[in-house]
Symmetry: C2
Subunit: 178 residues, 2 copies
């Protein structure tokens, strides 16, 4: 950040009075520009016991598989965001079956919020951001071609939980890859 | 938003190609400035069955009571944010006992993530943003002087859940006040 989005003047990194972190502060109008983590909302959509995954048609991780998920928009709920992303990426209508997982990704300033979902009518197709969409049994999941560690972790735990049919919502943290 | 924070030129509201919502786009360098909801992390801190609340020394809702909570910072986890806020607002060390609640506040572009907490040694004092800090039995909570509806809702449910000693994490949505 170099300029004030309010008045267009240059910003400086300074610790505001009473604060403890440097912020971008406008040298002219004084507006403090806070930067905060973003939420990614997604879901694990099931249809007759199989899981719907999307093969990414966009960077990063082009060509790799993921669950439908994306940045939450202003004015929507997390559930609405998860349903919208499933519609956009997999052209699929999904019922939210429950809150499932929160994952902190502090190294990229993101929090994933993942729901359990059930496809409404079993129909799906690649959206603009997907090369392919496909239903997978657990044994068919392309584990070595999953786009993001958070998706691998969520799917592994989901299948474990499914054995006992008990999906208590939880929070966990993903460390950066080395 | 009027100016590009990257290059300082004027921004326009336009729908980018392949997108579905108007975004602030720089007319010069082309950077798209997305705006997304913010997360508020907080906790319900217990000590010997009583709940620690803070009376706000800042706007909005100056003089009203709330749980320790505030905007999550880049680079931290939700748990770290909740502990930091408890330290800043109530000078109290807290152990996170578990994820408790998510509340969508779509009318203000916020999501609250609330944990259950236990004070480590029972010590607390008003931080810079608090006029007072105090432990309350359920019957002593100043229900008519709570700062935000989300806090009232979370505390009411917490006391209900405490009767059965079962605190399954959940998500709910708060509508605007009329």
């Amino acid at each position: 950040m170099n300029f004030c989005s309010h008045c267009g003047s240059a910003v400086d990194l300074q610790i505001p009075e009473g604060d403890h972190l440097p912020r971008h502060i406008c040298g002219d109008c004084g507006v403090i520009h806070y930067q905060n983590p973003k939420m990614v909302a997604g879901c694990i959509p099931e249809w007759q016991g199989r899981i719907l995954l999307c093969r990414r048609a966009i960077k990063p991780r082009y060509g790799l598989w993921t669950i439908p998920a994306g940045f939450m928009e202003n004015g929507e709920t997390l559930e609405q965001a998860a349903k919208r992303e499933t519609d956009e990426e997999a052209c699929a209508k999904v019922e939210i079956a429950g809150l499932y997982a929160l994952y902190n990704l502090p190294h990229v300033n993101q929090v994933y919020v993942i729901f359990r979902g059930q496809l409404v009518d079993g129909s799906f197709a690649p959206g603009l951001e997907s090369l392919e969409t496909e239903l997978f049994e657990k044994s068919e999941i392309p584990w070595h071609e999953i786009a993001f560690p958070v998706v691998t972790r969520a799917l592994e735990r989901y299948f474990d939980d499914r054995l006992g049919q008990k999906y208590t919502p939880f929070i966990d943290t993903i460390a950066p890859r080395h």
